[in-house]
């Protein structure tokens, strides 16, 4: 490479690398260091305390409970979202059938794809306000109002969706699923459309039913996208900060009585409310480790032989 080129390369890289280094990489690295201190964040004075923060974490019932809730999210959010998205994607791309040899979507599939995707472009903050209203604990909430109308719920004693310890996690899962299905539907649709049509036609001629077609042809050929979806949803389930912190009670959410606490809310409360920066950093490190473990486990668990077509 000539001299002028070096100058050009260096010139083009300087600003992006500097920004990235200062605001992303360096903070990531610092977190590990701070997690070993008793830093309160107010001043620059802190003591090295070794792994004290980590041992305290293990004894922190709230944080341990939060990990458990994250695990519940991790199990239910991807499974429900992916199953619904797969079902809809199949219906919209190959559900309509009947014309000789035709494999196509059901009528109106374009319309459905546009509508289903819409929640994806709304911010989670909008979702939080919207579902806060839907879950209102009186007849004015959409869900309670509906159930009262159907006579399933007593108007004087409606369900407190977000304050019922046994319901709050499910109420949150519903929001995430509502938000995500459309996106994964489109993702799976894109993958389905790259499957050659003659495979389906051959299956049709052989008299395969729709269920068979789906299980034996579509799903195996989609496995790569399902795997991607699984990892993405898993990472989202490890976060959940916005919804929990804004929809549930308590400082940075987590209520009632820590029944909806997730790692990110405990961390933010310790950092911004209690000012325990070092402790919060230790939580950040634990979140990183768990996220990495989750990604690796999910990738391994869903590994299949790649099918070329």
């Amino acid at each position: 490479m000539r001299k002028g080129q070096y100058r050009f390369v260096a010139g083009f890289l300087f600003v992006p690398v500097a920004l990235y280094l200062i605001f992303v990489i360096w903070p990531y690295i610092q977190t590990f260091g701070y997690s070993l201190t008793d830093w309160k964040g107010q001043s620059q004075t802190f003591e090295f305390v070794g792994i004290d923060n980590y041992t305290a974490l293990v004894r922190d019932d709230i944080f341990m409970g939060a990990i458990w809730h994250n695990i519940l999210f991790l199990v239910f959010i991807p499974v429900i979202t992916i199953l619904l998205a797969l079902f809809f994607a199949f219906m919209l791309n190959a559900g309509g059938r009947g014309r000789a040899g035709g494999v196509s979507g059901v009528a109106g599939s374009k319309f459905y794809k546009v509508v289903y995707f819409f929640p994806q472009v709304l911010s989670l903050a909008i979702l939080a306000v919207l579902f806060g209203a839907v879950y209102r604990s009186d007849g004015g909430g959409m869900l309670n109002g509906f159930l009262v109308k159907l006579g399933l719920v007593d108007a004087n004693d409606p369900i407190e969706w977000l304050n019922e310890p046994n319901l709050v996690l499910w109420a949150l899962i519903l929001v995430v699923v509502w938000h995500g299905v459309g996106f994964y539907l489109v993702l799976f649709s894109a993958a389905m459309q790259s499957i050659p049509r003659d495979i389906y036609e051959a299956a049709l001629i052989d008299g395969a039913s729709r269920t068979h077609t789906f299980l034996r042809i579509t799903l195996p050929l989609l496995w790569d996208s399902v795997q991607t979806a699984w990892v993405y949803l898993g990472i989202a389930a490890m976060d959940m900060f916005i919804l929990v912190s804004t929809m549930t009670s308590g400082e940075y959410g987590g209520g009632p009585d820590h029944h909806s606490e997730v790692m990110s809310t405990v961390m933010m409360r310790n950092f911004l409310y209690y000012g325990k920066s070092g402790y919060a950093c230790a939580m950040g490190v634990v979140m990183l480790l768990l996220t990495l473990i989750v990604s690796v486990v999910m990738l391994r668990a869903t590994r299949r032989e790649r099918i070329e077509f």
Binding site: L19, Y28, N93, F118, P119, L122, A125, G145, W178, F271
Partner: protein, 310 residues
């Protein structure tokens, strides 16, 4: 049907001849399963569409109701259709939050595209020592949860004296958008033909000029995808402004972005109940996204999908 082409794929563009009555034709006779499944699946598809649309419509309608109407019953029809509530919501802060968001994005999105493309271009098309290393260094950032960085990031921005400033948030947005942008544009620049590049250089264009006048225009489709992705992502960002955009002292003005402001309004609603204003605020926040989405829905869907797959 004779000799189907290998390249044909089924999908939403398939029907070669639409059924005369606009409905899917009769099942092949021997398939009773088809009818049941059709009714079932159509019902289910329509139900999900309703589940998406109804809450949103209900929320927009609620902004035309009064407080007592909202608390009373979920299904009352609004009585006064005055748009006054929207201007009230705008005055109550939504206007400021909206403008703050627009102001930040007006700088952060173009800068993200510029710096991201510059780094991606150099990494994709020039050989130099450490190239691969630098590339992985950029891409690795996408793997870590942002929570890992929050505490030190807060103090880093504080040390730079940029807490609760637009420029601080802009720089942080640009930095955190870098991994995906570099990753995506890197793949894109690699696919561009070398011949055009060589022709430009032979014609005496400098490397910088070649980038801005030849390569960047050719990468336009990729830039659009990345642009949509970053706009949506930064517009909807919540956690970074929550940590970085808080008034630092009594006379430090509030510079909340839209997502933050909505949550703020929601929390205030506990003290001074004015729910229609909150709902009107959400409606105002929703409309630009709805318009962008409906006008570019193909690109938005394609952009976000390829963002995940690659």
């Amino acid at each position: 049907m004779s000799a189907p082409l290998k390249t044909t794929s089924y999908g939403d563009s398939v029907p070669t001849s639409p059924p005369p009555d606009g409905r899917p034709g009769k099942p092949d006779g021997d398939r009773g399963e088809g009818v049941v499944l059709n009714v079932f699946s159509h019902g289910f598809l329509a139900l999900w569409a309703l589940l998406i649309v109804l809450p949103l419509l209900w929320l927009v309608l609620s902004s035309f109701k009064t407080d007592s109407q909202i608390a009373g019953s979920a299904f009352g029809w609004p009585q006064n259709w005055s748009l006054d509530v929207f201007s009230r919501a705008w005055d109550k802060g939504i206007g400021d939050y909206f403008l703050n968001t627009v102001l930040v994005l007006a700088f952060s999105v173009p800068l993200t595209m510029l710096f991201g493309s510059m780094a991606a271009y150099v990494l994709a098309r020039y050989q130099f020592w450490g190239n691969r290393l630098l590339y992985y260094f950029f891409v690795a950032g996408a793997m870590f949860p942002v929570f890992l960085a929050l505490v030190p990031l807060f103090f880093m921005v504080k040390r730079l004296d940029m807490l609760n400033t637009y420029q601080g948030l802009i720089l942080v947005y640009v930095a955190y958008s870098m991994p995906f942008t570099v990753f995506f544009m890197h793949a894109f620049f690699r696919t561009l033909p070398t011949a055009v590049f060589e022709a430009a250089i032979l014609d005496g264009a400098s490397h910088t000029r070649t980038f801005f006048q030849v390569m960047l225009p050719m990468a336009k489709p990729g830039l659009i995808s990345v642009g949509i992705f970053n706009t949506l992502g930064q517009w909807n960002q919540f956690i970074l402004p929550t940590v970085l955009m808080q008034p630092q002292s009594g006379d430090d003005p509030e510079r909340y972005v839209l997502t933050q402001g909505l949550i703020q309004l929601q929390q205030q609603q506990g003290y001074a109940s004015d729910l229609p204003v909150l709902f009107a605020g959400v409606t105002i926040a929703m409309i630009p996204m709805l318009v962008v989405y409906l006008s570019f829905q193909r690109q938005v869907q394609a952009g976000l999908t390829s963002a995940t797959l690659k």
